[in-house]
Symmetry: C2
């Protein structure tokens, strides 16, 4: 029953932690933990048990330390989320191969990769990325996306507009998909029970005759596998739109 904020705490602390890590001073006991270990444990916990289970107490327990020990490494939960975001955004290793490929292939790759990222870390969709901090990984990904649009004669605004549109679509779709899938899995209520619960009122709705088109939909419309089909379907439409735009710019 909890969402989460990122970018709410001490921004510069988060950024320092992302870019520089912590410079150790020689005095005092050696730290028993590392920032890295904490972030990894937190991501693993969120992946497995969902964002609602991501409490400082649970992260600490997973690491076998006291709750407040975490605060020696991270200023607060907000900054921990910032770090988790940058952590999972680590770009694929083989980005270099993509130099010189067709822009359309590259954008499709980016879209699919982003989608997979959300599938792997569904809690991303519940994190309020109010102010996406520009961590090293975010910046690398952004640079890569921009490189895909080299040499097409686009302005900065246009490039960013295309990338924004792509990411907006993919994340929006992932949101719909992942949240539904996740509800079907780990809830106490199965998908069948859910539809069974909706059944009675739906029959009323159908009988009312106010929604003829909704109830005229084919049975297989929401069938299994419609979602993977969904990404490629919408992505192709969107990239068709991009192609029209790029062609117009080239022609002018």
């Amino acid at each position: 029953m909890t969402s989460a904020h990122s970018g709410r705490g001490d921004i510069s602390r988060s950024l320092e932690l992302m870019w520089r890590g912590r410079e150790r001073s020689t005095r005092g006991p050696k730290p028993g933990l590392t920032l890295e270990r904490i972030v990894e444990a937190a991501v693993e916990l969120a992946d497995r048990d969902g964002i609602a289970a991501l409490s400082m107490r649970n992260v600490a327990a997973a690491l076998g330390v006291g709750t407040m020990s975490l605060y020696r490494y991270v200023p607060g939960k907000s900054e921990l989320l910032d770090l988790m975001l940058d952590h999972v955004e680590a770009p694929a290793a083989d980005l270099a191969e993509w130099r010189g490929r067709e822009w359309r292939d590259t954008l499709q790759f980016i879209g699919q990769g982003t989608y997979r990222l959300y599938l792997r870390h569904p809690w991303l969709l519940q994190v309020n990325q109010a102010r996406p901090l520009l961590g090293p990984n975010a910046l690398t990904n952004f640079e890569f996306a921009l490189s895909a649009l080299d040499g097409l004669g686009l302005t900065s605004r246009e490039k960013v507009g295309l990338i924004t549109t792509l990411v907006a679509y993919v994340s929006g779709l992932a949101r719909q998909h992942v949240l539904t899938a996740q509800a079907n899995e780990d809830a106490e209520l199965s998908q069948e029970e859910f539809w069974a619960a909706q059944g009675p009122v739906m029959e009323l709705a159908q009988a009312s005759g106010a929604y003829p088109r909704v109830f005229a939909l084919e049975d297989d419309t929401f069938a299994e596998g419609s979602v993977e089909y969904g990404l490629d379907f919408g992505l192709a439409l969107l990239l068709d739109g991009f192609a029209t735009f790029v062609a117009a710019k080239r022609g002018s």
Copy 2:
């Protein structure tokens, strides 16, 4: 620091409340509240103070009643969220006018309307619509969207695919936009301070030379007004893609 779940509680209770309201039995004291009033107060509270401030205690206080009194009307917070969702989705009154218009205009209207909805109720983006319950308003909107695609020779799957794609894009973009705007407004940190905080590390990043394209972007790329521009820009691209698809179907 809280997200929120919807569709987690007793589904059938939520649905009953949405479709039928509560049938009053004659015995006992007259209720001092109505479901309607509670939902409206909750929406107003969420609009003004954000989802984090939406606690049962705060809603009750806004209504001048005891916290637990709310539970006489709503089974729990989860169901209250379900009701809030359906409440704000109330369709525009003038949907009937749109019969027979061009599909492209209608879809654009739907996209812009959805976008405005998110601007008006930013907390929508933080609500985990895991299982969007089909309330009367949701169903009416869906029916309207389907009606826009009448007569184009599309299958059920294709119609739903187009609508899904449109909504995914718009909600994804709204998410980026609203969360950023909201952070800029009501946080203790202004936008200038935010960028000032990013400044030092950004200079380091620039000096590293690893992100040439990012730092070669024009200064006005992220300027004010880029966001409204953003919706229409992306929407046009997407609808171009739709047009290509529809034309291909027609031609075949």
